[in-house]
């Protein structure tokens, strides 16, 4: 039985901000289904009383003094921008 449908794959691609062709959607469905099926072996393990690990070291919040510092120079920040005008990064209009 398939764990993931092509419609789900298209939904996930939208969440991931990836445009995909119909062919790619079919392909991703096949590959993701195989990987997810493989991952379901984790269900063999009883983890009800196990704490999740998000970080391997025993570290708590790392604090530092809040000291103002010089920001990056504008020309550096714009150096790699694909499109910029008047010192600002330009994108297609976002308000109709």
């Amino acid at each position: 039985m398939s764990r993931i449908s092509t419609d789900q794959v298209k939904h996930v691609a939208n969440l991931a901000r990836l445009s995909i062709t119909e062919d790619e959607a079919q392909n991703f469905t096949k590959h993701l289904d195989a990987i997810i099926t493989f991952a379901e072996q984790l269900n063999e393990l009883d983890t009800d009383n196990v704490e999740p690990t998000s970080h391997v070291l025993d570290m708590k919040n790392v604090m530092r003094e809040d000291v103002p510092k010089e920001g990056l120079p504008r020309e550096d920040v714009l150096k790699n921008a694909p499109d910029h005008v008047d010192g600002q990064i330009r994108v297609p209009s976002i308000i109709e």
Binding site: I4, Q8, V9, V12, A13, L15, A16, R17, L18, S19, I20, E24, F28, H31, L32, A34, I35, I36, F38, A39, Q41, L42, N43, L45, T47, V50, E51, P52, T53, S54, H55, V56, L57, M59, V62, R64, L72, D76, V77, K79, N80, A81, P82, D83, I89, V91, P92, S93, I94
Partner: protein
């Protein structure tokens, strides 16, 4: 004979006595790259002009106190996911094809303080996702031992360049085996430090809870020198650890008498090639003859590591790679009338297949309704895998096994099925999940292809890992073997 047949401390001595100049080392590097890189294809970008001018400046300091540091004047290669100011950094991805960083990674700053010379940037699997360097968006690096086989990955360029004698040492990064596996395939020494030992500031993030930068070298001693230079707490990386950095080279005593070695039965089990097994058993005999003892143990959750890793690393990657949207840097699609299409088409045109696959897997595992079943479940299994290591390290000093289940495979052999490719990393992935340090050292040849011995230590105990690796290296000749190019 190449100058780079010398270990770093000997090269340092030659510089100190003025028998060799820094410029000679830099020329040696570019000469060798000119001879072999058209075949090996380890480098993506060279920094010749700057390297040569820096070498000239350093030559003027030769013989003064300023040249006393051991890494002074040494040419190095850097994996292309570590940012270098004004030197193109692509992560081997089309999406960063024209990206010139505006700052240096902390490790790069530290290398500059040590006055190494950056020769160029090294090829890799795109965004470090892969085990063969075949996922590079630009070129396929070849294994210098056999040009029909892969160098491993994702730090394939870093390992191949050192093996081919193009640079005496390099930096790689390791998320699930990406330093150790190519080191094993290319017959060089590669260490993944303890998570938190080395700052990740300026390492383009793949899976932030697993990524570590580490050294790739020809000898264990060289490796210890390089780790020394790049280790330590960094205010720019809040996950770098506030722990003392010991003198790693001092740990290389050659003495392993009374050392207790654990050999997980899962690391010599199903799927591990017979010659690989035999070379590990022979290596254990060598360590026994030096006074160490070994016993078989179990890391019972090993078989779950691969699934755990792919869920966690892909989830983290899907978040980390969200920043590549065509707005502030990198590639931008010409095919977009609105912002949403700009995001979607930029990413569709800029990322390669494997990167997309992992972004999709990670987005799925984190999406509403699936988070608990996949992402959180994997985090819980990670706890069990970590505990496996803690239990073994209560009684033993190090864990020893193979680095990879097989020697290097043929180019194209495993590209059709992602799961087959992922199986390569079953022996290295658990180490990243547990956050402990692991090294690969050469331990044999199979049909002319190198094999690697993996030595795994306790958190922040790279010293013991190095001591065992060095004692083994000095008792064997494997590190003296070189590919014929």
């Amino acid at each position: 004979m190449s100058l780079f047949d010398h270990k770093l401390s000997d090269l340092h001595e030659l510089l100190h006595k003025k028998e060799v100049k820094v410029s000679d080392l830099v020329e040696e590097s570019y000469k060798r790259i000119g001879q072999v890189d058209s075949q090996v294809q380890a480098f993506l970008t060279l920094d010749e002009e700057k390297a040569r001018s820096t070498a000239k400046k350093l030559d003027e300091k030769l013989g003064t106190d300023e040249s006393k540091g051991l890494l002074f004047g040494m040419p190095i290669g850097i994996k292309d996911n570590i940012v270098t100011r004004d030197l193109r950094t692509t992560c081997a991805s089309k999406i960063l094809e024209n990206f010139d960083p505006i700052y240096d990674a902390t490790v790069v700053q530290k290398l500059q303080q040590a006055e190494t010379i950056t020769i160029g940037k090294l090829n890799m699997d795109e965004f470090a996702m892969g085990s063969s360097t075949e996922n590079s968006g630009f070129k396929k690096t070849k294994n210098p031992w056999n040009l029909d086989t892969v160098p491993g990955g994702s730090s394939g360029g870093s390992a191949a360049a050192v093996a081919a004698g193009e640079v005496p040492f390099s930096l790689g990064s390791d998320t699930g085996g990406s330093i150790r596996q190519p080191a094993s395939f290319c017959g060089v020494v590669g260490l993944k430090p303890t998570y938190g030992r080395v700052s990740r500031f300026g390492l383009v993030a793949f899976a932030s809870s697993l990524d570590q930068i580490g050294p790739v070298t020809r000898t264990v001693e060289d490796n210890a020198y390089l780790l020394q230079a790049i280790s330590g707490l960094d205010p720019m990386d809040s996950t770098s650890a506030n722990v003392e950095v010991p003198n790693f080279v001092q740990a290389l005593t050659g003495d392993v008498k009374g050392l207790k070695i654990a050999v997980p039965k899962e690391y010599l089990g199903e799927g591990v090639n017979e010659e690989v097994k035999q070379s590990v058993l022979a290596s254990l005999k060598v360590l026994e003859s030096l006074g160490a003892t070994w016993e078989e143990v179990s890391l019972p959750h090993s078989k779950y590591a691969l699934a755990t890793y792919y869920l966690l690393s892909s989830s983290e990657a899907s978040a980390n790679l969200a920043r590549f949207d065509g707005v502030r840097y990198g590639y931008r699609t010409p095919n977009a009338d609105n912002l949403m299409d700009l995001y979607k088409n930029t990413r569709a045109e800029g990322f390669g297949d494997e990167v997309k696959r992992r972004i999709m897997l990670g987005t799925f595992a984190l999406s509403s309704g699936y988070y608990d079943a996949y992402y959180k479940k994997a985090q819980k299994v990670r706890t069990l895998i970590k505990k496996d290591f803690e239990d073994v390290f209560e009684k033993y000093d190090v864990i020893v096994g193979p680095t990879t289940p097989t020697p290097a495979f043929k180019i194209g052999e495993k590209t059709s099925d992602p799961l087959t490719m992922y199986m390569n990393d079953i022996l290295t992935i658990p180490v990243n999940l547990a956050g402990v340090p692991g090294i690969s050292v050469p331990c044999g040849l199979s049909n002319g292809l190198p094999l690697g011995l993996q030595i795994i230590g306790k958190h922040f105990d790279e010293s013991t890992v190095y001591r065992v690796a060095h004692a083994f290296e000095q008792a064997t000749d494997f590190h003296k073997q070189k590919p014929q190019l």
